[in-house]
């Protein structure tokens, strides 16, 4: 695997939109061509090289290309958007939409990210060592097609509206989440290792949510069934199993009504 290193040299005054920073866009290009890729600072278009020092070499294919981002990328958005293969490593913080609509490959952010990361993800892996903002792994505003596949792991905390309209894939938050988890969910798995303030699984039709800590305010649409033993992400524990959201329509499969499952560590 070949590596291209981008080092921030001119910090943008506005937010920088870097949807062209993907292994797919870099693959097979010379450093000069990579430098000419278009980015937006607000409404102004500019070449990537205006902001970053570009070094190293891109692979022939996306799968063979690794991008390392150094320097202050706290105001850089959309890195890895729609990427299908390869790797991106961001050494510090990054802004919104990191790994949005991603289909494959791997993104590792060593710092924090802002909102909308892993949005409507279809495949691949997004790993965040710090915290994530709101709408982690959620659907785009208005869309009913949320996360469909892949893995998002956040080692810190996340904000509101995690996994809205989740349809597939897995989101693991090792810290706490605030309100709205898996709202409108219709598949997939969400694991919160810490506490959740509330509103878990509102209007959820299908799919699983695991909470290792407390849910401070439980939704009334969930009904306790029984205690179950489960191994989740390498940890064995006993969970109280709830089904819901009983206020919502539910599909049937082989004559059985399908509910969303909420497991809260007993």
């Amino acid at each position: 695997m070949k590596t291209v290193t981008l080092t921030m040299k001119n910090k943008p005054e506005l937010i920088l939109e870097c949807n062209n920073v993907t292994p797919d866009a870099f693959a097979g290009k010379s450093l000069a061509d990579i430098g000419r890729l278009e980015v937006y600072e607000g409404k102004f278009r500019a070449p990537l090289a205006d902001y970053f020092e570009i070094a190293g070499e891109a692979g022939e294919t996306a799968a063979d290309t690794r991008i390392v981002m150094k320097g202050d990328c706290k105001r850089v958005k959309r890195i890895g958007q729609k990427m299908t293969a390869g790797e991106i490593e961001i050494e510090g913080d990054a802004d919104m939409y990191i790994g949005g609509w991603m289909e494959g490959g791997r993104i590792h952010v060593k710092g924090n990210v802002d909102a909308f990361c892993g949005m409507a993800m279809k495949g691949g892996e997004l790993l965040v060592d710090g915290d994530a903002g709101n709408y982690l792994g959620a659907a785009y505003r208005g869309d009913w097609r949320g996360m469909q596949g892949g893995l998002i792991r956040v080692k810190g905390n996340t904000g509101n509206d995690t996994a809205t309209f989740i349809n597939g894939g897995t989101i693991i938050v090792e810290g706490n989440a605030f309100i709205h988890v898996s709202t409108h969910g219709e598949g997939g798995t969400v694991v919160i290792k810490g506490d959740v303030e509330g509103r878990v699984g509102g209007q959820m039709v299908k799919g699983d949510v695991y909470v290792f800590g407390n849910i401070q305010y439980m939704l009334p649409g969930f009904k306790y069934m029984e205690d179950v033993e489960k191994e989740i992400d390498g940890t064995k524990a006993t969970f109280a199993h709830y089904i819901g959201d009983l206020g919502e329509r539910h599909p049937t499969s082989r004559g059985q009504t399908v509910y969303a499952n909420l497991y809260v560590k007993a």
Binding site: Y140, R141, G142, D143, W144, R249
Partner: protein, 571 residues
Amino acid sequence: MGEYLIKNGFVFDPVQGINGDKSDVALKDGKIVETTALSSGATVIDASGMTVMAGGVDIHSHVAGAKVDVGRLLRPEDKLFKSPKKTGKVSRVEMGYSVPTTFKTGYDYTRMGYSFVMEAAMPPLEAPHTHEEMRDTPIIDMAAMPVYGNNWFMLEYLKNGEIENNAAYSAWLMTATKGFAIKVVNPGGTEAWGWGLNCTTIHDPVPYFDITPAEIIKGLIETNEYLRLPHSIHLHPNNLGNPGNYETTLETLRLAEGYSPKSDFGREQVLHNTHLQFHSYGGDSWGNFESKAKEVMDYVNQQKNLTIDLGCVTLDETTTMTADGPFEHHLNGLNHLKWANTDVELETAAGVVPYVYGKNVKVCDIQWAIGLEIALFAKDMMRTFLTTDHPNAGPFFRYPRIIKWLMSKQSRDELLHSFKWADRVIAATNLESIDREMTFNEIAQMTRAGPAKALGIAHMYGSLKPGMNGNVAVYNINPEHMPADPDEIEKAFLRAAYVFKDGVMVSRDGEILATPPKLALWVNAKVPENAQVRRDIYEKFRKYYSVNLENYPVRDELAPNQRVIELDITA
């Protein structure tokens, strides 16, 4: 304003009986003129090897007003990754897909060579905003049809058989809203929706008003002919979208028997049935859902006083929007996506639901086939118009694709056989057995001459006769050497080589070159003074409306370029 001579194209003008002859079209002072009227300084456009038609006329499309805006608000995702960057020098940013912005709407219609679009449903109370949006839709001339079919005044007048009073009210409403024609959506059913009910047959009484859809439809035909309006009533019948509804449709169409048109604008119909595709369904469930296009068209073909438009399903992700409130609620129960509903006081309602017509969903494929069958079974293309009921059955920029399917059996067969449930779709439809391929002349009838005549605007639009508005489309397709690949047909009609609007070259190969002023057409019908109706209007506004009577009409500044069609039935 320049002069243009469009030379040596293959000209199709059904009005003049020109069927692909190589000839020249001249433009001067915004009008089509005799070629001899041009000065020597006219710009010559070489159209050799290309097809020349009058500017297109769309009889039914939801492009402006309250429910389009609800669609835009409800669907931010309709713009996601589907909004082209700003390209042209004079054009503005274009956004959206099934519910595009006003700018994209105007530009895309222009690129397809259209010059007139009828906004299909204007709730009267929302007329000021509808006109404001039409004003902001560049280039194309427009008009809007106020929605009548569930209006309290109308329900009361018709219940009492007061056609003259209903006509006086309708004329007042047309003037107040700067409206063009009487639009009827699910007559009685939308009002019943206020009670949580619907009228799924033409004999279901409307709650409280105790009148049936059949009485409403007949009463409105009589009102329309009393007023001698340019267009006939424009009807979206009861029971839209349900299996087995073709019987309701046939019963509805039979209501027009015995009526003949009374209008000085050249139309021959008394009833226009819009988006007939949605009304030609057999079976009694989605399981045995099938096409009844043949049964419906056999009847339409015999009745000279009917016109129809297709409402073709294009197998896209789109946004449904209609004043048929109960239907949208029903549809939301089927697809579980989003639903918005609006109540418009004494007048109407509306619902909006996104819909994905999936290529591998049997019902969607059958709907697709029915839309095409309606056109292919039609005997008189001057009474059969191309629409998608934009955006209900598909976005309007799929018209060129429908033209491709109609002109090429190969292209529709390829798609038909690629469906996952092809065998079942073929068994439930007639499409595979139909060999007919439309000619350019028939396409010109369906997209220009026919709709212009049915709307009563054939004196301005739909033909290349000298004296007509200078609206011309030149398509880069040679009727004498049809391309082997049917996709080339779609390409040619999607981005016309040259488009002229009122004598100005507005688009070339898809690039917008100019945005000249556009017109809003409306009908001002002068009727005998009617004190009772005046009092009724005053009373209803005082008692029920949330706005004052004085604030209700469309102010002139919202329609800065008006073309008023004056009628005087007191004479």
